[in-house]
Symmetry: C2
């Protein structure tokens, strides 16, 4: 008998349904299902009668409710007792992989200045961050904002995607570069890039099917390849590096808005943690303007 099992148990009791309990506790329905099954196996007797439309407690289940609540309360109390003094809150910050390293560095520095905050960084591709927020695995996510989830998002800045060339490339001086002039240029694939499908679509639509000289997960490495003259690529402006020239691609107006998204539920940081989180948000905002 374990804290987690009892939590799911109580969630089922409170919602009257396995699926809703899963939503409440932010796990999948099979997770709740198997947790209850395990608890029943431990206890040696069924706790719920599953009729198809609703779930109700057995006698044994009913007997477990109050003790389970006391246990959960005792845990909460214990955590409160500790929070009372040491007052360190861990903020789990999800980071999109396509953020500039020095940019992230500045954020870390800004957050380290905050008292009572411990930062945990979780790097994922941009698309995966939303799921992490939903599952409550991170408290805050920093990355390009999709058009959809503008709900609890805080936009920080907007930037264009530009063509990256090495400094001495003939086209590096051009004001604007037409896709058609790039037919014979080798290109590099930034594998984590959220705009990757749009970029390749842009080129193929113009009959440009370049040789892909490299595909890499590492932004630093790609910048190095560009600088070394291995090929060109498209990247957000903030990823620019010394020795790499960034020029607009004619007809490619895509931009991205980088911002913060807050974890929605009431599960994440408690009322204290919430204040801490907004402190982190402020620190990040000022790190960017500064």
């Amino acid at each position: 008998m374990d804290r987690l099992l009892l939590r799911y148990f109580l969630a089922v009791v409170d919602t009257g349904s396995f699926s809703r309990a899963a939503d409440l506790t932010r796990v999948s329905q099979p997770t709740v299902s198997s947790a209850i099954a395990r608890l029943e196996r431990d206890v040696g007797t069924p706790l719920f009668v599953r009729s198809n439309r609703r779930v109700e407690l057995t006698e044994a289940g009913a007997r477990l409710v109050q003790p389970a609540r006391r246990i959960e309360a005792a845990f909460v109390e214990a955590q409160a007792a500790l929070a009372e003094t040491h007052a360190i809150t861990t903020i789990r910050l999800g980071l999109a992989s396509t953020l500039a390293a020095d940019f992230v560095e500045a954020i870390v520095v800004a957050c380290r200045a905050l008292p009572g905050v411990r930062l945990e960084l979780i790097e994922r591709r941009a698309g995966e961050l939303a799921a992490l927020l939903d599952r409550g695995r991170v408290d805050l996510a920093l990355g390009p904002l999709g058009a959809s989830d503008t709900r609890r998002a805080i936009a920080l800045f907007e930037e264009p995607y530009l063509l990256a060339l090495w400094d001495s490339h003939p086209l590096a001086q051009a004001e604007t570069i037409a896709a058609e002039t790039l037919v014979d240029e080798p290109m590099l694939v930034r594998r984590q890039c959220e705009a990757l499908p749009l970029v390749s679509q842009f080129f193929t639509a113009r009959g440009v099917r370049p040789f892909m000289a490299a595909r890499s997960i590492s932004e630093e490495r790609v910048a190095g390849y560009v600088r070394a003259g291995l090929g060109l690529t498209v990247m957000p402006r903030s990823l620019g590096a010394p020795g790499v020239a960034l020029r607009p691609l004619a007809g490619f107006g895509l931009t991205r808005t980088v911002g913060l998204v807050l974890e929605p539920g009431e599960h994440g940081p408690g009322k204290h943690g919430r204040a801490v989180r907004s402190g982190v948000v402020d620190a990040i905002r000022s790190a960017i303007s500064g």
Copy 2:
């Protein structure tokens, strides 16, 4: 923050030492060590000051003690609340692999007749059962008793190891069989047999180095091989099967005593479970005499 972690925490508090806490909770010292480390990571602050000779609580640690005790008490209370009515106790019975199948079957039948008992069988080689008892992974172990652990053991019966031959084998009628007459006989290896080293020693000492026609984990399969005439083997009398003749080996007086060993600590079954366990012991005894 989890029940298990708090248990180890309290054990350290109570014993004043990681190693003794490990003994108390019957896990290894590194287990306690890493559990405390994990708890401290969760909580965000050290709970113990490790000075080399003793371990003492930090302020945060001290603050956790009472809440942790309340939590553990609440769990115990919850389990008691359930035990009150449905009163099913699971008895984990360790079984040596070299017990006859029908013998085990009789035991299971006898135990199923007991009310409020759920039997969980854990099959291991004889040598591994002692460790399971020590770690509190089983409540009761049934198998050959070693000379050493006669402490809490209950002997049930004693039996010789005999040579197993197929019915129509020329030697099957002999009163006693001398090892030397077996020089050209293929033999079978019962891989789980606790007496294996002694048996092979017995033969090699007499210059008999037989061809091993098969080595198997399954007693049933070995019996089948003997019956089919693939080879001979040595087995405890109780493993005899129809179509298999058992004859004494001249000069091989080894016997084994099969018995029950009780789990020693106070961790295992509670005072209620203890009564149940002795019921199981009685059931097993009568299953054997019957």
